[in-house]
């Protein structure tokens, strides 16, 4: 089959699905209740592109395939086409987006069952997949930016999906507005690139971009990175992601863990030769990534909402990926994007399954008049492993994967990141030592908070009221099948990137695929090679940290349960409280930017609107009215008066015809 046609199908199928699910039910209300039909169509239009992408992947010949639909903008020197590009990087991302996306669509059929907005939900999800494919397949920055904004829009729509609750709408607004801040920087970067190079195609940017003046390269990379911090939730623009958990859980899994939030990494990897020519900015990327990883991990330990733990964990893992980009190991960042999509997708879906079951418990408890409980609060869970064996097992597997237990997927990708940081430091880049140290500390924290999350949820005794009589149930097959698949992948996914100590890195498939001779992803050149024994030692250290972290946390929380949190609080007093209060970053933003904007709007813009704008509009109306009041006296009702006017008019016209020019 022609790759051209396949690319078109991959792109247009999700769009067609969005139209089917979103537009048809608008006019045919009867269709809205046909959940099976809507759900299967919605899932099929994502699963089918996955199959096509697999076919493209298998038959890929090593030469990038560029498909041009039509010219989008042509103005002066600027010419932008709707052009799409199939190469190693975009293929891998497409597989992740459609593969994980398809599973989450299937899961959503079960999770969203009975929701009156079922059709709307699938329309948004399909549209999101379409936009995400634009983002990863685009052959130039504007198409990428179109996808970038499109996924932002879908994220907004889905976070605020249950819009009748004002809190959800506020979270959606927050995500949208914070992302706009980053997008502004992205736009500026594009303007600079166009001014310097006269084109926004990746081919031109990658071949001529590094030849720009150092100042221009620095500015472009800095601004692109700032754009990426918005989408990928890094300091200083990370606070929207935890709030984004207001959306339905499949959304958290798909958009806010597996796909959209990794687009910042994709952007850096796509433009990696350009990024490598701005070493100063790379140091900033690494430091910000490492700091974000640590800050988010410490907050995650203090959270009690199961989805908030996972959200901060996502921020932390994204920090890891930026850390990898900052030391020039872009392919490792993408490797971690992939394994993270597996295990974090599985964790989020698992938490969704738990919440689904706890909703049932909540209803039962409320029915017996024992008050309300929060179905997302881990303090009311515990002991769920008896009732939800599948959810528990897959959750455990992906917890071990993210904690970095050896041979699980997270172990390989995380260790590779730490090793690359170490290697870069060894090569003489001082900032990489900082990144490595923080990375190791964060690895330990990750193991601790994820084990805490698992143990508090599934082990020990049930803590909800009426635990003897009210029991949660395992979720239907639509929800457990994706859990199994993702759980399996999060166990074995790491073997795609075996570390360099094994067969001199010959078996590191992902490195060959992305950063091979013709691969699209560049990497930093390293001169001082780390001795083999030290390499093994680092792997051992990584394994040890994970094992110790999981082991200790398991002991703590299995033995003491919630009481251990209190003990932590006592021990770390101020630090713990500080982390639990999110380091007051949100408060800081509220006190400065939010108050500044709202205060400015109230003091400056509101009077302007009331006086000047309203004054102008009302003034025009008042003037018209006054004129009418004055002129109405001409309406005497006397026929002869009108006749005089007509005659005078005729005389005037004749006079003009006779004497006027």
């Amino acid at each position: 089959m022609e790759p051209d046609l396949l690319v078109r199908l991959i792109l247009l199928l999700p769009l067609a699905g969005a139209v089917f699910n979103g537009v048809l039910p608008l006019f045919m209300p009867g269709l809205r209740r046909r959940e099976t039909l809507l759900g299967s169509v919605g899932t099929a239009v994502v699963a089918l592109p996955f199959v096509l992408a697999v076919y493209l992947f298998v038959t890929y010949g090593g030469e990038p395939v560029v498909t041009t639909f039509f010219t989008w903008m042509a103005a002066g020197d600027l010419s932008v086409s709707f052009a799409y590009r199939i190469d190693e990087l975009s293929l891998l991302m497409t597989l992740i987006v459609t593969g994980v996306g398809g599973l989450i669509h299937l899961y959503s059929i079960g999770y969203m069952h009975g929701d009156p907005g079922f059709w709307r939900f699938f329309a948004y999800l399909n549209l999101f997949i379409f936009m995400m494919l634009n983002l990863v397949l685009g052959d130039n920055l504007p198409v990428l930016f179109l996808g970038w904004e499109g996924v932002g829009l879908c994220s907004y729509l889905l976070i605020g999906f249950w819009y009748t609750d004002l809190k959800n709408s506020a979270a959606a607004n927050k995500a949208f507005i914070m992302n706009r801040v980053g997008d502004f920087a992205f736009l500026l970067a594009m303007f600079i690139l166009f001014r310097e190079l006269g084109s926004l195609d990746f081919d031109v940017i990658l071949s001529e971009g590094p030849g720009m003046s150092q100042a221009a390269v620095n500015w472009v990379v800095l601004l692109l990175f700032f754009g990426a911090t918005g989408k990928s939730a890094q300091i200083p623009l990370y606070t929207w992601l935890p709030d984004a958990m207001a959306g339905p859980t499949p959304v958290s899994a798909l958009i806010h863990a597996a796909t959209m939030v990794t687009s910042g990494l994709y952007l850096l990897a796509r433009l990696s030769p350009l990024v490598l020519s701005a070493p100063g900015i790379m140091a900033l990327v690494a430091v910000i990534g490492a700091t974000t990883a640590l800050v988010a991990a410490t907050i995650a330990i203090t959270q009690n909402d199961i989805k908030k733990v996972l959200a901060y964990s996502t921020v932390s893992q994204l920090g890891y990926m930026f850390l990898a980009s900052g030391v020039g190991a872009f392919f490792v960042a993408i490797f971690h994007v992939m394994t993270h999509a597996f295990f974090k997708g599985c964790l989020f879906l698992g938490s969704g399954s738990v919440i689904h079951a706890m909703h049932h418990v909540e209803h039962e408890v409320a029915h017996h008049g024992k008050g309300h409980l929060d179905p997302q609060d881990m303090r009311t869970m515990g002991g769920l492993k008896r009732y939800m064996p599948t959810t528990r097992l897959t959750f455990l597997l992906s917890t071990l994967a993210i904690a970095g237990i050896p041979l699980f997927s997270g172990f390989f990708s995380k260790d590779e990141i730490l090793f690359k940081a170490f290697e870069y430091g060894y090569d003489g880049h001082a900032y990489a030592w900082f990144a490595w140290g923080v990375g190791v500390l964060t690895a330990f924290l990750t193991a601790v908070y994820m084990t805490r999350c698992y143990v508090l949820t599934f082990e020990g005794r049930p803590r909800w009221p009426l635990a003897e009589t009210v029991h949660p149930h395992e979720s239907p097959w639509m929800m457990t099948v994706p859990l199994w698949v993702l759980g399996f992948l999060s166990v074995v996914g790491g073997f795609l990137g075996l570390p360099g100590v094994i067969a001199h890195g010959e078996l590191n498939w992902i490195h060959h695929w992305l950063a091979g001779e013709h691969g699209p992803v560049a990497e930093a050149a390293v001169h001082g090679h780390v001795p083999l024994a030290l390499e093994w030692g680092l792997i051992g250290l990584g394994a040890l940290i994970a094992l110790v972290g999981v082991g200790l946390a398991w002991q703590w929380y299995a033995q003491h349960g919630l009481a251990f949190d209190a003990r932590l609080k006592e021990r770390f007093g101020r630090l713990y409280r500080w982390a639990a209060e999110l380091y007051h970053v949100d408060d800081f933003y509220r006190a400065t930017f939010v108050r500044l904007v709202i205060g400015g709007a109230e003091k400056g813009l509101a009077p302007f609107d009331q006086r000047v704008v309203d004054g102008l509009v009302n003034g025009v109306a008042r003037m018209t009215r006054g004129l009418g009041l004055a002129l109405r006296y001409l309406q005497t009702g006397l026929v002869q008066a009108y006749a005089v006017a007509v005659v005078l008019g005729v005389v005037l016209i004749i006079a003009l015809m006779l004497f006027g020019s």
Binding site: Q635, T636, L638, V647
Partner: protein, 99 residues
């Protein structure tokens, strides 16, 4: 005979008609003045038709006469209807469309 005589007569008739409409108060006289204006125009039509050797002007006169007849009938009906209501045909007393 020179066409200007006819045109001059027509102008005089038309002016009398205009003055009649503007100055008289009796609605019926006003209607008669309107007829006068129409016929002044008819006169020019006939005069030009003769001078140019084109019969179209005379055909138009027939149209004008028949339309004027219909208009006179309707005009009179309106005047009578108003008279029934107000017992006057003085147009200065009739200002139903006043603001």
């Amino acid at each position: 005979m020179d066409i200007s005589w006819y045109l001059a007569l027509s102008a005089v008739l038309f002016t009398i008609g205009v003055l009649g409409v503007l100055l008289r108060r009796n609605a019926i006289i006003i209607l008669m003045s309107v007829e006068l204006m129409l016929n002044a125009v008819n006169l020019t039509l006939v005069a030009f038709s003769q001078a140019l050797g084109d019969v179209a002007g005379q055909v138009l006169v027939f149209f004008a006469i028949s339309v004027a007849a219909a208009e006179a009938a309707i005009g009179l009906a309106i005047v009578i209807a108003i008279f029934r209501g107000k017992l006057t045909v003085d147009v200065t007393q009739i200002n139903l469309f006043k603001y």
